[in-house]
Symmetry: C2
Subunit: 201 residues, 2 copies
């Protein structure tokens, strides 16, 4: 993205790449709300020659909206985002696509029984298609690297299921709980069961 924009910046204009890690599956101005950036992180990715005063000004803008700010270089940014956002989104889109394709299970069954776990994936897979197409096309390398690691791990777990290695499965499923606790303690998600989902939609 930086490579695409940089050549078009006019003389005297500052370019400080940055974006927040906040938002919902909804898009557009009407999807905003006052607390959107409270306690969420915004990442600044200064490029070579970024004016420190312009960077500081942008930091103040994000902080003024309630966000925390972190600076990192572009390569590290791409990897962090591939893990925390891009790979999870592609995986969610894929799982929903598989369900939609499966003729031996009807769409109405997929919908009726979605509270068993699947519906969480459909929220992410309802995100804006144009934005996500562009994300994957511009963060190609890091996303493909994480997806490679993901399929490697998935194959190891599939093998444990096939061979009946219950200990491997149990150990793996125990380890992943710690990350959830860390996220709740850091105030990045709620501890309420099912995200405190509204019970009667």
């Amino acid at each position: 993205m930086i490579e695409a924009v940089s050549p078009h910046i006019p003389e005297g204009v500052h370019f400080v790449p940055a974006h927040p890690l906040a938002g919902t599956e909804h898009s557009g101005p009407e999807a905003g709300f006052a607390e959107l950036f409270d306690n969420r992180w915004s990442l600044l990715v200064p490029v070579e020659g970024s004016d420190p005063a312009a960077v500081a000004q942008l930091r103040a803008l994000w902080e003024g909206m309630g966000a925390y700010v972190e600076e990192m270089d572009a390569e590290h940014h791409d990897l962090v985002l591939a893990v925390t956002s891009h790979a999870p989104h592609l995986i969610a889109y894929t799982m929903v696509g598989v369900a939609d394709d499966l003729r031996r299970v009807t769409d109405s069954e997929v919908i009726k029984y979605s509270a068993a776990g699947f519906r969480d994936f459909t929220r992410i897979a309802a995100s804006d298609p144009t934005m996500w197409r562009d994300v994957f096309l511009t963060n190609k390398e890091a996303t493909l690297e994480i997806l490679g690691r993901f399929t490697e791990e998935l194959f190891a777990l599939q093998r444990a299921i096939r061979t009946g290695d219950g200990e491997h499965l149990h150990d793996y499923f125990t380890r992943t709980r710690a990350i959830r606790r860390g996220i709740i303690e850091a105030g990045q998600d709620t501890d309420a069961p099912d995200f405190g989902r509204v019970k009667k939609p």
Copy 2:
């Protein structure tokens, strides 16, 4: 599961396999609440020779707790659950495991920036390890079949990213939105952004 239990049913005792599709990432008696089964589905899987009166009694029990009831055979049940529950859970566990393993992205980065999508996966991956080990070991075939389809689709999307096929990505991401709408219209999830997540945990 039916094969494991059936031989041990004493004379005069009715065995009607059934379970609800409801619950949260929390387990045990204290994780229950009065509305847990309201508008959720419970599946009955009568076996050969199941007493119709016993099946009707169990149906009445679930309906009395506010659930809808559907009957299906064991093979179809296993496939439906593999799609709506078992595969999504294994995929979520895998994604969280990958993030936890990645030394070039620290745990604290994974946690701080989790609001970008990843945190949804950590809720599912915080489910009870013992129950989920047993689920995968007893629904081996159907889960492996769905995971096979999942990796096939994932590879096709990875290829589209690698070759820059934006149209394929955009079409795929547009199609998956319809399933989300169906789930909301069927009252199986809330339309509130981010599941109506509590804003200040």
